[in-house]
């Protein structure tokens, strides 16, 4: 009798299910019964189309919270790299072909922000754990026989196999910033792992990572979001510790962590993603040994040199990826016939458009702000066209800190 009463009481506590039948799966889900207050994650992922289960997993028809959540992928974060293929993959989603620009997962999993290959190699080489400075190990083991860099595999970094205590100390204290690492405590470090580390805006929101309202994906990634890993302190080779900065950097020009760094105006005014491209941040699908190999944007990419204008491209193909990127982050209304800047690798700088008269306009991807600038060619600049490192440009254009 008692058991029946308990069962009846339990039954009576269950809410009346709220049914959602997403177009994508066509199968009913009851998730909104409890989660009606969760905002739609992005315009590209409407709740009515995707539902919840296609990304998060879980038991779609369970009304008991524990049962419903028992098979969720990645806990609150289905984009964690341990489950990302099941959550975000698929040929029509984020593991499609490179030709269509849909190989996001493949690129992210092999990017230096994920493998941390450069830092690991530097430390292991410095302390004699490997004979050369080239990358050999990453956070995970990865393999790509077709990698165009010639680096076709990384074995998993396992400090237990490195007898050197300095390498073990590095492993214990310094692996905080790759995309699978849990963030350090503190609001200034608050970010998710995997894709959401960059694409879920957490920085400066003051919202706890476990808040149900924190449900947003964006390509409008602010400088502050990058700062949850970058500009957070320095690694010391003396004690092999990460020394996090204790202040909250507010002034981008003066609060940079490297006291000797020089900046010109665009470097402390724009957001990082306004200049740095998708492949620089997410990788290009090949295995790279360090950041320097993949990061290639220079001042000349946008400004040109005294003898060359920046590279441009007229948009004639409606299937140009620039249109898709501009649709996902509509800070600029691109049209057929517009001329945009492109990098030397052919990546579209879709937020920078040529204007009549020789100037260019840049729309901040996170701020939406419009900036205009002119090319170097035709200016008084006498820079050697072959000498295009930022240090060279900073000789005239850096701002006093």
């Amino acid at each position: 009798m008692s058991a029946l009463l308990v069962a009846a009481w339990n039954e009576s506590r269950k809410p009346r299910p709220v049914v959602l039948v997403p177009t994508l799966s066509g199968r009913p889900e009851y998730c909104l019964t409890c989660h009606a207050d969760v905002p739609q994650i992005s315009a590209a992922h409407p709740t009515g189309t995707f539902g919840c289960v296609s990304c998060h997993g879980g038991q779609p028809l369970a009304l008991d919270a524990d049962l419903a959540h028992s098979t969720m992928r990645g806990g609150r974060n289905p984009s964690d790299f341990s489950v990302v293929e099941a959550s975000c993959g698929g040929a029509n989603c984020h593991s499609g072909s490179a030709a269509e620009g849909r190989d996001h997962i493949q690129r992210a999993l092999t990017s230096v922000q994920t493998t941390y290959a450069g830092a690991i190699a530097t430390v292991r080489y410095a302390f004699g754990a490997q004979s050369g400075p080239g990358a050999q190990q990453g956070i995970y083991a990865i393999e790509d026989p077709h990698s165009a860099t010639g680096l076709t595999a990384l074995t998993a970094f396992d400090p237990a196999h490195d007898a050197n205590p300095s390498v073990q100390t590095f492993a214990a204290n310094c692996l905080n910033c790759h995309l699978s690492a849990q963030p350090l405590p503190g609001a200034q470090y608050a970010r998710f792992t995997g894709c959401a580390a960059c694409h879920a805006p957490t920085a400066g929101t003051g919202v706890q990572l476990n808040a149900p309202t924190l449900h947003q994906l964006t390509t409008a990634i602010s400088y502050a979001q990058c700062n949850t890993c970058h500009n957070r302190g320095n690694y010391s080779m003396r004690d092999l510790q990460f020394h996090p900065r204790t202040d909250a950097p507010a002034d981008r020009l003066r609060d940079y962590y490297q006291p000797i760094a020089q900046f010109t105006r665009c470097e402390y005014t724009l957001d990082c993603v306004d200049c740095h491209t998708r492949t620089e941040a997410m990788g290009d699908g090949d295995i790279h040994g360090n950041k320097k190999e993949i990061q290639y944007i220079r001042c000349k990419t946008c400004h040109g040199t005294p003898t060359e204008l920046p590279l441009t491209k007229a948009l004639t193909d409606p299937n140009d990826i620039a249109f898709r990127l501009a649709l996902l982050n509509p800070v600029v209304d691109l049209k057929i016939g517009d001329t945009i800047l492109v990098t030397e690798k052919g990546e579209p700088l879709w937020n920078i458009r040529a204007l009549p008269g020789g100037a260019y306009e840049l729309f901040g991807k996170a701020s939406g702000q419009r900036f205009t600038f002119r090319p170097v060619m035709g200016s008084r600049c006498t820079q050697n066209p072959e000498d295009q490192s930022s240090a060279s440009c900073h000789q005239c254009h850096s701002v006093q800190r």
Binding site: M1, L4, L5, A7, A8, E11, V19, V21, P22, T23, L24, G26, P28, A43, A44, H45, P46, G48, T49, F50, N92, C93, E100, R102, P318, N319, F323, R324, L327, L328
Partner: protein, 138 residues
Amino acid sequence: MPDVSRRDFLTLLRDGLLAGSGLLALGGLTRFLSYQTEPPPTTEFDLGPAANYPIGSRTRLPDVPAILIHNASGFSALSLVCTHLGCTVEQKVDGSICPCHGSRYDEQGNVLRGPANRPLRALRVEPNAGGHLILHTD
């Protein structure tokens, strides 16, 4: 008040508990047997009299979602579900565009721009005996 013996009281209590258990079990069984699964989505839509859709008209049907086209060839209908991932496309002057990932279709539903690579699905539309148009999505 008549005296109730210990034996009678226990018998009464036992019978009461048994009856209660039976009722609860019966209630549970009734609820279990009367459980209705989610009905399958509607695949037939009564669009009303054909005369409501003059020749040359293109009528958006948000509940389907679809667009009903009446031209010289007769009635036809196109699904407004994007063939890429299933978002509902938005009607524009010269076709339609998917708000999710930017696929574009012409007025006939042919793909003008990806990521979709299949045309919008043509739906069957036919009049019934009462002169109403019936749209089939299956």
